[in-house]
Symmetry: C2
């Protein structure tokens, strides 16, 4: 099964990229923090947009740079691109082909701004038009649902954010998440049928909530709705009802207490079917226990557990996640 | 019924704010486009975050400014706020009270940046700490679900973006949307029960899709999932199945063709229960026909039709939208 083997390739893919990309990541870091750069504009869609959500926190904390997600239609449909005179422009795309993302990078270049592509295809049109290409080094990804190119994108972002000196921490924790497969299968079986679901995460792992939801949508046809834990408290909380699957990502670190407070409130006021992916001890809630890793790097590990969860949820629902309805590997939007 | 009367107050609220806020909006515009400002950072949550999504397009096209949505946890939980030296900082909040939003504005002030609050409470803590307050002038909003403060926020953003010279276009079109109530009721009845739903919009009306989804969540307990039309094509399309409610906002303008292509594809490949809010003629799809208005101002009109849709969806579901489960009017997140 292609998808399963691509999920299990991830420790090796990450190890390879860690050793190959150190110097190019440092060059990208220098470009993004150069004189006259006040913010980083990222153009991305789908899975890569979730990687951009991670960059918002990783580059926010480690590079002290505000990160702006581009609105591509300003560049294409409306043809009124903003003034990018204080921006560095980064495209994130597995294929490097979607015309709307190319339009953002082309405009950045036209305005004389530094441009970077994070892509799995260094021969792609996106790679052609930028100043620097950070290759994902993930190898060919044949499944429609992106898995290893997502974690490789997160790793590239992390390596640009800061020197990753412990070369085993990330691949080792990802291997540990894969080793948790039996506990993940048990959580899927306990959760049962999922026509829809709410997925919660915050901070660095807001990206994980959004990417887990996207995997559930495209691989298992679950109408999964991702929220920042804080946003969920501002309105959507009302939606909780009997027997609702509530999936949350709770890393060790400064946001754990808030996450747990909200999940416990959901348990007490509703009757949600709760599962936490966590690497802390939470005896009073149903958890999948995963390896310890620094919070800022933890999205790379947590999403791998979420990919396995989704693979088994698809299997339980009798869906073939290799051939999602209505999707192709390369989506071209304008 | 408080909520219903607040929805119907909107033409008057908008007319009042249009005449009261012309000069203060012009002052805000000058501040946001002053020397040394390369991007606008907005801090907002919930409904106000959807207003920020509108600002991303309105200020992007009319002021040529890239708009960045703040990640408040960088300022609170992680205590590693980015360098804001090229930013102007704007808070949008009905109550002006949430501590995480105050933290972003306080940091902007600490870094010596221009700060603006768009709020319905000019005596609030947020109003206290900024250089300029743009008051919503919406009057007291007693319902938990924000309606008139949302359209008043959109109007404030539009007036800051550009001189709104036709003082009747917006309130007039909103009154026209309210006049469409019978067609909206028919659409709700045709749609039937909605445990979940997909809401599509793009460009200026991406904000409408997100706010419509939030209203459905908090007023009618629908697990509504909003998408940019372009993002939906990149993966979530797989989720479409038999009898799925698919609600789309299709304004006259440059994005209409793409929106309609995707909705027709959903109709042909799935069996979604489709309703369009639109002000163009679409004979082959079920529509609620709404007044013509310039696309960039149309989110103010479309959301009012969506509010009415939601009110009647709640009524059909036997839910009292005045007292949403688990919510209070002022939510304080950190």
């Amino acid at each position: 099964m292609t998808l399963r083997s691509e999920i299990f390739e991830q420790p090796d893919v990450l190890r390879g990229a860690l050793s190959a990309n150190q110097s190019i990541a440092a060059r990208a870091r220098d470009m993004l923090t150069g004189a006259g750069i006040g913010h980083i504009l990222i153009a991305a869609r789908g899975t890569s947009d979730n990687a951009a959500r991670y960059a918002k926190y990783a580059w926010g904390t480690k590079l002290s740079m505000p990160v702006t997600l581009a609105a591509p239609s300003l560049y294409t449909k409306y043809q009124q691109p903003p003034d990018l005179s204080s921006a560095a422009v980064v495209g994130i795309s597995q294929s490097g082909q979607s015309p709307d993302l190319l339009a953002v990078l082309t405009e950045g270049r036209r305005q004389g701004r530094p441009t970077i592509a994070i892509t799995n295809d260094p021969e792609s049109p996106m790679a052609d038009i930028v100043d620097l290409v950070v290759p994902l080094k993930a190898g060919p990804e044949r499944s429609v649902a992106a898995t290893k190119t997502y974690t490789a994108s997160l790793l590239a972002i992390a390596m640009i954010a800061d020197d990753v000196v412990d070369l085993d921490e990330i691949p080792g924790s990802v291997a540990g998440a894969l080793d948790a497969e039996q506990a993940i299968v048990a959580a899927v079986e306990r959760t049962g049928p999922m026509p829809d679901a709410v997925i919660l995460g915050r901070g660095y792992n807001r990206s994980t909530a959004f990417e887990w939801a996207l995997k559930l949508q495209e691989m298992a046809y679950v109408l999964a709705n991702p929220f920042s834990t804080a946003d969920f408290a501002h309105g959507p909380f009302a939606v909780l009802e009997q027997d609702f699957p509530l999936l949350a990502v709770v890393p060790a670190g400064v946001i754990a207490d808030d996450n747990l407070t909200l999940v416990r409130r959901a348990r007490d006021e509703g009757d949600a079917r709760i599962t936490l992916l966590t690497n802390i001890d939470v005896p009073d809630l149903p958890t999948v226990n995963l390896p310890m890793i620094e919070e800022w790097l933890s999205p790379i590990m947590f999403i791998v557990a979420a990919q396995l969860f989704t693979l088994h949820a698809a299997s339980l629902a009798g869906v073939d996640p290799e051939t999602p309805r209505g999707l192709r590997k390369v989506t071209r939007t304008t």
